[in-house]
Amino acid sequence: MTGTPHTLHDRGNRKMARLQLNNLHAEVAEEGGEQILRGVDLEVESGEIHALMGPNGSGKSTTAKIIAGHPAYEVTEGEVLLHLEEGDFGEDFDIPEDKRTWDILDLEPNERAALGIFLAFQYPAEIEGVTMTNFLRTALNAKLEERDELFEDEEGEDDAAEEEDEGFETSPMEGPADDGEVGVAEFQEILQEKMEQLDMDAKFAQRYLNAGFSGGEKKQNEVLQAAILEPSIAVLDEIDSGLDIDRLQDVANGINALRDVQGTGVLQITHYQRILDYVEPDHVHVMLDGEIAKSGGPELAEQLEDKGYDWVREEVYETA
């Protein structure tokens, strides 16, 4: 295993991406599906922490799922743009100028991940028979490979086409398939380090992905995965629900580290002020009836905690 640093070129690199939701309308993807989003405008930049708050059913989780590419929703209007900057994937990864803006709604979920989008699920799936280590190493390698393909395929380089053909040949049970991969030993080190930072027991590494995990362990695991995949933009869907105070602290430390060390931009969906005491947002948005009704600084979250959402609703109607 060579493990040359270039395979992990984004490690420790400051991100410079920007996610932009423009006039996003969406409905449930079925005959006569209910409209849920009615024109969402939102921008999250790398290095920023945004809190997205709002009552149940206002469209917060739907927004998160659409960013990730959930097939249950259909976008009827608007766009979700991801703007990248030179150096976003490390100094030696060239991002040509004509490939710096992507409408991610055109992309598959794994392609979005390759460009640096991450969704922490409100209810993470339990995957029996697939160990954390195996999954995360596979995901990290798949992400790097997919990213290479997204930036190479139109340049007509001979070797790019060949690599694509071999893309699916890599079985997770086999060792490193090509020299661009993060090998088993190298990955173990990364995983161990990240788990220690999150105060996670080493035994999780060999357990099946989320299988039999407590609610809190699952949430911790979502933050761990974000830490390993190093996204430019992380959407965290109620990462704070079901956490006791100690674990809340661990998770909050993990989120702050994402921002502080890698410069990840965080869109944090939450019902509660509680986690915002530990992860201080730069911006707070209130969502009502499928739109961003009000945006402000951290003080807005405190006002919501004190007064609920009704005053925002009244304010919006008055303005209208």
């Binding site: 697939v130 893309g167 997770p172 995949l229």
Partner: protein
Amino acid sequence: MSTQVHANLTEEQVREISGNLDEPDWLLETRLEALEALETIDMPDVIRTPGRDWTNLHELDFETLVDPLNWAEEKDQVGPDDVEVLPWGEAVAEHEELLKEHFGSIVDPQENYLTALSTALFSTGTVIYVPEGVDAEDVTIRTEMNSRSLFNYTLVVTEESSSVTILERQSTGSDAVDGEKYYSAIVEVIAGENSSVQYGSLQNLSEDSYSFSCKRGDADTYATIDWIEGNIGTQLTKSEVSTELNGDGSETQIVGAFFGHDEQHFDLDVKVWHRAEHTTADLVTRGVTDDTARSVYEGVQDVGRDAWDTSSYQRENTLMLSDESEADASPKLIINNHDTEASHSATVGQIDQEDLLYMTSRGVSPRLARNMLVEGFFVPVMEEIAVDEFREDLEELIQQRLRG
């Protein structure tokens, strides 16, 4: 109802097969009686759901498929020195009394049309004899079929307090005859008191083949019979794996795995009969169907009247990877003694779209995510397989199929 009778099967053919093997008269008689019985006995039972027979054995063109005298195979039959692993002909010469005692004692040659056909026509086979107190691993039987039809017979006898691990693999040779083929096998296991038999079978015949196999064991007092059954190949497989728990304190485990694609069809029976006290059975099967493949599973736990203090567990799970594949599973529990702890379950399902999104949202391609989910699905079965070599072979075959 009678089944088709072969116009081209004759007593002379059976006499020739038996004669070539220098078989004693009683064995020839058993074969000839089986041949004659073909006129009157029916195919083995298959699963029926309303309006449908899942496996139509009557449709098979035995006239063309069965060519008993032109058989060809490559065979390895190896084991450690203190165990006898004998080709059928040698076993006839050296162990006639053993064969006379056990041949046909568990699987009645005339149980159904296919057992009778196999008994009348088998030309190759293996006898494994494990003397008292001997512990043997690494008995391997490899059969590479090269002819239109091949009829195989296996007998395993373990004496008191012995143990043996047997791995059997069936495949099709690269210079096998073209076109459809028929492989038939009967396996009888007689596990003596306090002995232990672990019998793994990995079927990977070419996909223009049909196979019928019936494997059945008789477990004496405190004996253990563990079966592992992997089905990957053939166009159609009809297979039974079963254990009669005839001795007090006897145990069995039957682990199965199958992976069907294209137009493959697997009809799998798993059975255990609890006939003595303090017996234990654990039946675990997992399978995957893709494309237009079909699988039908029937598992029966039969707890007899005298089977006090029975423990019996059965679970079967099928994962369908395509909308066009089909699976039916029917676990049956028959309890005639109330002093029984038992469970049985079966599920048929598809890949969970939320699972898939979760994995792809982390950067894994849909195809790779599916493959990981399938490999993960087989893990509970793999964990039950104590023989490393068997598990690794099976994993390799599953991965090959996933890469398809």
